[in-house]
Amino acid sequence: MINRLLTVVFILLLASCANNTPAEQEEKEITLYTHRHYDTDQAIFSKFEEETGIKVNVVKANADELIQKMESEGDQSPADLLITVDAGRLVRAKSKGLLQSAESEVLEQTIPAHLRDTDNQWFGLTKRARVIVYDKNDVDPEELSTYEALADPKWKGKILIRASGNIYNQSLLASIIANDGEDAAKEWAGAVTQNMARSPKGNDRDQVKAILAGEGDLAIINTYYLGRLITSEDSLESAAGNAVSVFFPNQDDRGTHVNISGIGVAKYAPHKEDAIKFIEYLVSEEVQKTFAEANFEYPVNPSASSAELLESWGAFKEDNLPLTKLGELNKEAVITFDEVAWDNGPDAN
């Protein structure tokens, strides 16, 4: 038995060695570190390979880990590009000196200024709006107005939102700090905590399911999760998705909070030119449309059409706060969450 095992191990060892010989040195390739885990992305990469002959190597992990990895690898890092699912991490990568400027007219013309870095170190690929969804039966949308208004005691026991460890909550609070100031933001976070229907748990989808179950009336979630719920194969999920409507807050002032999934060229990118070509490809109308349709994200390219479902929710005014701000204020947002004990939920009465 042991012999048999050893033989198998030996063969596998040989096989793994054979696998790893760097034979394709001459081939054109780029290496991508990405936090996006979508199958549709893979299809887009394959298409890029087909069209340009440039092979795309993909390393998927959390952005924090990828940033650590790039930092540790230093100038020997094989990474050409870093993709994250929020602006904060790109700002962090930039401040750690892990990215470099990418000069490209195409990118400057396609992507609106507030969705990219001032030094062109990173660019938005898709937008996600953090919106309020409400129970169609129990809530009159006339009662909704802004994120700030959620602090009103009339919502006591009604608000569903996930824990503060979530980056999208952190970004939202960062945007409120940027707009209303530190003290007001802290007061807001404290009041919303007291208005929660339960202590924060689960993911964005679970908040919507809790509305269907009658645990609360409002949830703060990202738009694409709702898109996926509505189109889910699971009847419970689609029922939850259809039980709520979307409300875009702050339409009369600064606009709804948006974050991006974005990309930057690595400081020590071995294949800078091809990397830029790749970014240009990702913001082309066709690819942008795929992002929107497959994953219910809003395209950053204004001329790309959006998914039908997204269009059915209507156009909205977005907060044009430079996303760099979100990164800069992220830590402050986390500290604020801790100070108001967000994760403990409303005080027991």
Partner: protein, 535 residues
């Protein structure tokens, strides 16, 4: 010694960090969350400790003592809950028992008006973790119960002990070292859990480490928190050793041909009770979550079932097999080198080497990348050799990381059982002029075969499920099932994660079948136990 040093590299890298002092957020951490997190972690440890002990020990005793229908199948099905990553089980439980969950819907359809059972709190987390981790205790207890010589039982009965008395005053105390070994593994897993705790909104030490590192951007304090965690582990370890006390028995393996006790039929009248005891962990740890996974996999089958899935499964299998073999060899080496050479430092190394199991994987990953960078730089500067590809283009570094991470899983039961084995056999062998290595290979290891196999299996399963290290250190052409499942779950597409998770469970069952059933010789029979002793 060299092995110990080699294995301790990441720990040394982390120790270096400690000299830089706490980070700027330390004050904030101690003010706002440290005590809360500590309290939650302790509660989790106590809760899962009690439950896994009850589940694991009782089930192991029943399958080892009694004969009943489907006993053989149940015996190995009881290992399988380990194959389900706990965060996947956590999702599955919410899918079953949450609002409109599938089990709730089923109950409602038969007229039981139940809306939901709230799982997303600390009690739910204790339940889920216990249900998926009890096999650690089960497998350790089972390995001991299986090798229990009959003469002890016969003696107890001759002396008039009842069944119950025999279990509580003879069997349990003798099995304690092994069970403690299993509990230790459970505790480490609980402390290291990230996904399930995060999903249920429970802040634990480990979620705190990640929060400090990623959200508060203070790696320095995160490493300090890890160090505290390691301290806590030493404390637990110390307590367990105290509990174990002097209970390191030397079991004299029976010389008679009846060394392996025959199973008795279930006592009449208590069949229901005994089967119920075995069924509880089986139903809640395996059948319920798997049913939910199958339902999800069914919903997403069309888009998820691809040929690529098989290729991914094969890759996971290969890497885990190699790495698990390396872990077992390293564990043997450390156990025996330390007992051969009474070097002063070696005991320290033993301790250092096994703490890899408790440091959060992501932190180990960083430690390893940092230290391997130093090595790469050294080769580049001093020897003009570019060896970076070895680190980033192959699985070498990943396998090394696994060895570091999972050494404790193999080492703890191995050490416990080699203590139990005692020295008299090896000493007789030395007296006969047989060398140490030969004695190890021909006497000690064959006797420890059950332990080695179950250690191998546990490590193998752990590696297949492992996430943070795999994510950070894997070469980009390597895909594993756990990573695949994680990518979907992380993206809130749990139903898509179900199929890769099921394949993972399938791969693990396959290996268990090969190891346990394909080879009759591996089933502990009296003949094979006897053979080596009579050399």
């Amino acid at each position: 010694m060299a092995i110990g040093l080699f294995i301790a590299i990441p720990v040394l890298a982390i120790i270096v960090y400690l000299f830089y002092g706490t980070g700027e957020m330390w004050q904030h951490i101690t003010t706002y969350f440290l005590w809360d997190y500590l309290k939650n972690s302790l509660l989790l440890l106590v809760g899962t400790g009690i439950l896994t002990f009850l589940f694991g020990t009782s089930a192991a005793w029943i399958v080892c003592t009694y004969e009943f229908r489907f006993r053989r199948i149940i015996e190995w099905l009881l290992f399988l809950p380990l194959a389900i990553p706990s965060y996947i089980a956590a999702y599955a439980y919410v899918g079953l028992l949450g609002n409109g969950g599938s089990l709730m819907a089923l109950l409602q359809s038969v007229g039981i008006p139940i809306q939901k059972i709230e799982m997303m709190n600390i009690w739910g987390l204790i339940w889920v973790l216990s249900c998926s981790l009890f096999p650690y205790v089960y497998s350790c207890a089972r390995a001991v119960f299986k090798s229990f010589p009959t003469n002890i039982r016969e003696t107890s009965y001759l002396l008039g002990a009842s069944n119950r008395k025999y279990f509580f005053s003879v069997v349990l105390p003798m099995a304690t070292p092994a069970i403690i070994g299993g509990l230790f593994l459970v505790f480490m897993e609980v402390l290291n859990d990230y996904g399930a705790a995060k999903y249920y909104g429970i802040n634990t030490f480990t979620t705190g480490i990640f929060r400090t590192w990623t959200a508060l951007e203070d790696l320095q304090s995160a490493v300090y928190l890890s160090a505290l965690l390691v301290l806590m582990v030493f404390l637990i370890n110390g307590l367990l050793i105290l509990w174990r006390g002097k209970r390191s028995f030397t079991l004299r393996l029976s010389q008679s041909s009846a060394s392996q006790a025959k199973r008795k039929p279930l006592p009449l009248g208590k069949q229901g009770l005994y089967l119920g005891i075995v069924a509880i962990p089986l139903v809640f740890g395996l059948i319920l979550p798997i049913t939910q996974l199958i339902y999800w996999a069914y919903l997403t089958f069309e888009s998820m079932f691809t040929l690529q899935l098989f290729w991914i499964a094969a890759q996971s299998f290969g890497v885990a097999l190699i790495a698990a073999a390396c872990v077992v060899v390293a564990a043997i080496a450390i156990t025996y080198f330390s007992s051969w050479n009474h070097l002063k430092g070696i005991h320290l190394f033993k301790k250092v080497a096994v703490i890899g199991y408790v440091i959060p994987g992501a932190i180990i990953g960083i430690g390893i990348i940092r230290s391997s960078q130093t090595i790469i730089d050294f080769f580049a500067d001093a020897l003009y050799l570019k060896i970076g590809f070895l680190f980033y283009g192959s699985s070498v570094i990943l396998i090394y990381a696994y060895v570091f991470r999972f050494l404790a899983v193999a080492f703890n039961p191995l050490e416990a059982n080699s203590l139990k084995l005692g020295k008299y056999l090896s000493e007789s062998s030395y007296l006969l002029g047989i060398g140490k290595l030969k004695t190890l290979l021909t006497v000690e290891l064959p006797l420890l075969r059950n332990t080695l196999l179950s250690a191998f299996l546990l490590v193998f399963i752990d590696i297949l499920k492992e996430l943070p290290l795999t994510l950070i250190l894997k070469p980009y052409n390597l895909q594993t099932l756990a990573v695949k499942a994680y990518e979907y779950a992380d993206d809130e597409r749990v139903s898509e994660a179900a199929l890769p998770a099921l394949v993972l469970i399938g791969v693990i069952s396959l290996l268990m079948i090969v190891l346990n059933f394909g080879d009759k010789q591996l089933l502990p029979t009296k003949a094979s136990d006897e053979k080596h002793v009579s050399h």
